[in-house]
Symmetry: D2
Subunit: 363 residues, 4 copies
Amino acid sequence: MKNTFGTNISVTLFGESHGECIGAVLDGFAPGVEVDEDFICTQLDKRRAVGLISTSRKESDNFKIVSGVFCGKTTGTPICIIINNENTHSKDYESTRFLARPGHADYTAYEKYHGFEDYRGGGHFSGRLTAPVVAAGAIAISALKKKSIHIGTHIKSLGGVLDREFEDLERDINALNEKTFAVLSDQKSEEMTQKILEAKESFDSVGGVLESAVIGMPAGVGEPWFDTVEGVLSHALFSIPAVKGVEFGCAFEKVNGAGSEYNDDFYMSHGVIKTKTNNNGGINGGITNGMPIVFKTAIKPTPSIYKKQNTVNFKEKTDEVLQIKGRHDPAVIHRARVVVDSVTALALCDLLATRFGVDYLGE
Amino acid sequence: MKNTFGTNISVTLFGESHGECIGAVLDGFAPGVEVDEDFICTQLDKRRAVGLISTSRKESDNFKIVSGVFCGKTTGTPICIIINNENTHSKDYESTRFLARPGHADYTAYEKYHGFEDYRGGGHFSGRLTAPVVAAGAIAISALKKKSIHIGTHIKSLGGVLDREFEDLERDINALNEKTFAVLSDQKSEEMTQKILEAKESFDSVGGVLESAVIGMPAGVGEPWFDTVEGVLSHALFSIPAVKGVEFGCAFEKVNGAGSEYNDDFYMSHGVIKTKTNNNGGINGGITNGMPIVFKTAIKPTPSIYKKQNTVNFKEKTDEVLQIKGRHDPAVIHRARVVVDSVTALALCDLLATRFGVDYLGE
Amino acid sequence: MKNTFGTNISVTLFGESHGECIGAVLDGFAPGVEVDEDFICTQLDKRRAVGLISTSRKESDNFKIVSGVFCGKTTGTPICIIINNENTHSKDYESTRFLARPGHADYTAYEKYHGFEDYRGGGHFSGRLTAPVVAAGAIAISALKKKSIHIGTHIKSLGGVLDREFEDLERDINALNEKTFAVLSDQKSEEMTQKILEAKESFDSVGGVLESAVIGMPAGVGEPWFDTVEGVLSHALFSIPAVKGVEFGCAFEKVNGAGSEYNDDFYMSHGVIKTKTNNNGGINGGITNGMPIVFKTAIKPTPSIYKKQNTVNFKEKTDEVLQIKGRHDPAVIHRARVVVDSVTALALCDLLATRFGVDYLGE
Amino acid sequence: MKNTFGTNISVTLFGESHGECIGAVLDGFAPGVEVDEDFICTQLDKRRAVGLISTSRKESDNFKIVSGVFCGKTTGTPICIIINNENTHSKDYESTRFLARPGHADYTAYEKYHGFEDYRGGGHFSGRLTAPVVAAGAIAISALKKKSIHIGTHIKSLGGVLDREFEDLERDINALNEKTFAVLSDQKSEEMTQKILEAKESFDSVGGVLESAVIGMPAGVGEPWFDTVEGVLSHALFSIPAVKGVEFGCAFEKVNGAGSEYNDDFYMSHGVIKTKTNNNGGINGGITNGMPIVFKTAIKPTPSIYKKQNTVNFKEKTDEVLQIKGRHDPAVIHRARVVVDSVTALALCDLLATRFGVDYLGE
């Protein structure tokens, strides 16, 4: 379905970058789940532009929950979260109305919406729309925590700099969730920041790979066809602008190897079934096996760069040269990370509600 | 939705590996589309086990279309395709009923279905279920061809052997679709075959990466949220057993680079808008841009290997050693390729019907 | 969605009246539910033509469950039920191919499917398609019974003859479910049979109203918007050919009266909340209140009558006179009754699975 | 799906009666459709309380379209419409928090949401939620008009007073759409108003039946199973609080008669296929036949009455006597009429988009 995702727990997105407001409707959520507005703020802060390495557009992201929460708890009816737009510089976009910014959706939007689209700031395609996703996701993340399900994401690589591997997942996830710039190794964090600043100075941008882990998911969730955990999560993840690849476990890295090395042997660990390795990323046959769900998402470099680019005027069908103005991020991967956590939480909540019923997350 | 995929054109799967039959219901397809049973056979042959490099289980894959086709053409009502199961060796599975084959869904199925699942030959999780997907996909592929939309997939890598890059897409796609073992370079084809035989001889298995290209898709198809082309395709692709990663364009390979290199500059080519590079894989903002859709899928090595493996008895909760018997493929990637083409075709047909209405593919 | 109904428990229909077979895929059903094939037969017998008052086309309705049931119990994966077609007289329909039978879907099918539809015996529109619905519904009815939820339907009126009111619902439902001709009063049963025979003798047909009751549904099931119990049930019920009206409780009969009479006062009955009257049919605000769900469906007279009728040739666009041949029922209401029970059971199972999770019906 | 209705064009509802605001997200609508805010006001006025015969709660219904409309036209992305709540008397509801108002959803909401529901003024169940439905519906109605599809509804009966039959549908629909109190006969209009005032004076309420007609729908829209036009429309209509019955054509009135009288004979009228009668309400086999779609909805008397009523405290499980305070309508049928038009328009737009593609309504 178009701007709605999820079967039993769904999120519907609306709004444009330079419209009056943007928002999300989170529906199907169990009644009685505490809504921690401070935590929502914390999550939105992670997504917001910070310091030198991000856009100079400052959005306060003051959200309002206008329905579905009563006396601090979810009611079970749709939760609408609204974030007003402020500090929009719509004029930045007027002069380049019909010039396709490479890597952006200007041209494809024009083909789809016949020129009626709100083109200012990317309109409905803007990464700004991820703010309400993060707000809705924060409610999902809180509910999962109550069930001892925890999600964490780090920047696995950025501009060629590699973070260290996950070690103690529980500790790593906790540490990451305290950080604004989610890198496990402090030294690598500095090197990555440096990479972003270099990109900025050269009017360019840089991307990388995020790696996420979910611990605490019960075994037996997901479907063999077609709502595999991989299918549902990837469907949600690819909605995030800039995500171009998703892999579970060690996919691209190890599939060329031998089955005997790829297979995860099972063993008993204090009465619990576990696997020695986790190349399958916690999923067998589309269904959780109780091991951590581990996956990577490829985040492309921000397409908005200040270098001159060759492009076309898609209305006049002429070749043109474009120099992008406005305020843009030299990298979005450090901001995308909380969006990945958020859609992951929303998708997992939906899978859990499908498996165990509406009340499961509220019990 | 569980065993149904698609919004306007949907496919519903049923059946188990050792049940009476397996099948698919293809619904929402335009009336008046010619159904070429020979082409369905050809596609099923590509999926079937061939020669030394595949399982010795021979299935004739005699399909029957029992509804939705009248006088050789689709009627517009549900098309049910049935394939009978033959040559099943159910006893192979009795002795290992509660032993989790590593990399397989035995244990997750048990958690989900509480032991009521038909465990024989993987039951509903079996790769055999891809046969009706291929049959349904063949109808979709035929309809797309009529619209000048062509899909081709090659084995990009297998056991570390790399095929050559795509060059002339139209010619390459045509060539691939004539081949049973879909490798562009004949020499690499031999090397890959050798890798499979080596895996077989060492009682092991091997995997790799498939690369697919779709040419002829009109621009403007797909949604910004959540039904991006990437999201819809990946959702379908991850349903294929063994798929563990999906990337569009050059995702994991290039995201660590600069935006100025990742962005695909637009230019006018004889009045048509094109991009010089295609790192975004033909999709901007979730919507087709008229360039070829290019993506890769990571196909893990067949989990069924003859080597001894450590595992558990998930009923008794004991550690065990398992030696798999039965008939299994040392690689499935060469067979998975036509399944990738099939689900791609089905997903694209759905996106086209959503965009242009039911009759589009039948006109 | 087109030929699929339901969110968490769904049924997908396929087949045409004179095709090779017809069938249904029941998906999302809990694992471990006993499948009683004798009961399926019993239900199919209720739907089948019987004696003088029905069509002379005899279908054995030999069904086969080809997937999703293992060792007599549901596996949790899709249950495909197939019924072969026999005894088809396709030639009856050749000469009148383009003549619209009044009250039938010939013309609308032609507009929708552009002439590619299988027109023989009504094709996919045939009432025969209700056979697999009844078979799937039998599984649902059995599962509901285990939860002490019972469904019964009687012919409230036929050709102007009125059955007595429901009295003791439990006893009445039990009695009805033993009957082939579901009328509470034996005398009214005879009068109704007489009405059908009169219609038959005058080459005409007759319809009436069915009244259904469901006891044992827990309170709190359904949604305020849009998946009200009324909305979901009516959606399913209107799929049954011949159903043209659905009302819950005393709708059309009493809505012109006073609120003070329509409202159902609540009271405590041995610790259980009940209502004195049940004008709202067990549903308040779209959600079950624990009282019996009561509703009526208007079943139009069989449109196939032997009297001459004025119509058009919709291909040639000419006025024509039609005399229907073939074998047809002078009434279908007594057969439709088990179809009403079946779709009701399927829709309620879906609502329960949404509310309480997949395993609810299997526990 | 819970608070979302529609496949290709969908509407998602949020909000509670005494929350900050209520609203709807209309998604999937074609780009380029003019949005006439004056017409939305006009429609909301029809729904609002007017004069003596309605509640004394005055809502200004000042709506704001915060997304999806740009330069006065739809963009093709989600249209979010927000209406602020004002003039709420929440204290009216405190003292009766756990008393089930007969005919209302207080008790069923409690069962479903475990007491976490916002109970003030009916919360999410409030008829007030129909305001955003009407606003969204106004956009749909405008788009349909451009396609020469017109919808009109009259109060067929109220408190036993019968309006005259539809005569010239085009003229009648036009006339009705100019009226606030939608009765064709002026004399009957006065009599009905009198009935409402009588109900008010006796601290009671009154209901009735609405009859709607849609002209201009093309033939060939809808599905045989399960998305029949009847099924889709009834699903939407039963969401309207107070709707307890839906019938198409002459269902309950005539089904006890003969098939020869119920069948609608076809004939050619200046090259167009029509039927002489329209007992089937413009739908054969679930699909439009090009004749007007005609249906009736039973609107129960407002459950909020000032008379003392017996009920229970559903928390304490005690018998109680309730005297409702607050401001309530002695009838809602004259207000429900525009809601019926609105959901009808939304459902038909969805069916048309499914049939003809996204752009159909924007062309």
